[in-house]
Subunit: 203 residues, 2 copies
DNA sequence: CATTTACTTGACCGCTCGTTCCAGAACGCG
DNA sequence: CGCGTTCTGGAACGAGCGGTCAAGTAAATG
């Protein structure tokens, strides 16, 4: 019964996300947001509360997309490890979209934890979701005999989670995608059950 | 021929380091530093230039210690992989000194790269030093037959570097040291050439 | 078409930021 | 024992911060 919003809240959140992603929380000023979002200060405060709430919603949106990718990308067809590797590559590729800014989640964890409890909760949930998705896929890999017997699916999931986060850091220092891929290549090579070709004396 | 400094510059840098480590660059105000360092504003500016230079010197000091550990801790005695694992444990333990604040270097990379060129240079140097130290030690491991043939020393070094950085992130979200160790345990288990597990070996 | 309601805008607020500056204290030297 | 020099601490500064508010505007309703 009154004037409706003239902007799309989700679109605005996406733009805010990109800004926070590139600059971090503290280094992003409200004046930057006003400029980037194309909204008046008042509209932003009316719609999102304050800077911190806006940040949390932007981060939440980012993490939601990651969660969606991880919980929908796996199916029971095809080689489990190859499928997992493909998802991780896509995840890393998505984070390369914001020119050398790394991963919004990793950046936020490093900048704001352990002080910011809201961000801490979001990060905990997101890492748990990822780890569980990895674990399920690795359990299937183990059942199919793809996974090295040296590690359990649990431990391998934890390792993969750690490697992904690590790549996001190393990549900010050395953006060469080929060198970034080395860590993933290595860990997958190690996780795979080696075929007999490398064994010198089978019988 | 005049009044000498009444404070120890290195001790002041250490305290500044701890503050930047805990709070990050942007969230640390000069007033925080004045309070924490016990120096007047004027003295800080006279001694270090400005906030950014002070930060760079504090980070440089932190990285220098890491570099020293990595370039002095290895010797040619004893099992190479075990020695490497021990050094990494000490490195992680050192970073646990600043209560759940993670690793100063990782935090700084995530917050300030790719914008801050000074920090970028420091980080590049430090990661290169670490990677080379890992590589040398892993080459020795390979020569001694400790290293899995699945990976080259180069690739394994890159993987280890990545895992270390990743642990620093994951740890800020989930500080449980046991869970943090899982990733390291797994990667070392995978990197080791399995000698005995599958064949009964009398001890 | 008048009224109502919510949204939009940008001027504005108090505060805190990083930085500068200066008056006085402290020390080495002739 | 002053004199010159440097260090010290804190007052003060302009700029920019996050956040507020009132006036103007546009849509929906009867």
């Amino acid at each position: 019964m009154a004037r409706p919003r003239t902007f799309d809240e989700d679109a605005i959140l996406d733009r805010a996300m990109l800004l926070f992603w590139r600059k971090g929380y503290e280094a992003t000023a409200m004046s930057d947001l006003v400029e980037e979002l194309g909204l008046g200060r008042g509209s932003i405060y009316a719609a999102f509360g304050d800077k911190h709430q806006l940040f949390v919603r932007a981060l939440s949106r980012y993490l939601g997309r990651q969660d969606t990718l991880l919980t929908t990308a796996f199916d029971a067809d095809g080689p489990a490890l190859a499928q997992l590797r493909d998802v991780l590559d896509r995840l890393l590729a998505a984070d390369a979209a914001c020119g050398n800014a790394g991963c919004f989640s990793v950046n936020s964890i490093a900048e704001l934890l352990p002080r910011d409890e809201d961000v801490a909760r979001l990060a905990q949930r997101s890492l748990r979701v990822a780890e569980e998705a990895f674990t399920r896929q690795l359990e299937r890999a183990a059942q199919d005999g793809e996974l090295s017997a040296t590690v359990t699916p649990d431990a391998a999931a934890r390792l993969l989670l750690t490697v992904i986060q690590g790549i996001q850091i190393v990549r900010k220092v050395d953006p060469d995608p080929a060198r970034a891929a080395v860590a993933l290549d290595s860990v997958f090579a190690l996780l795979s059950k080696e075929p007999a070709e490398l064994m010198p004396d089978p019988a």
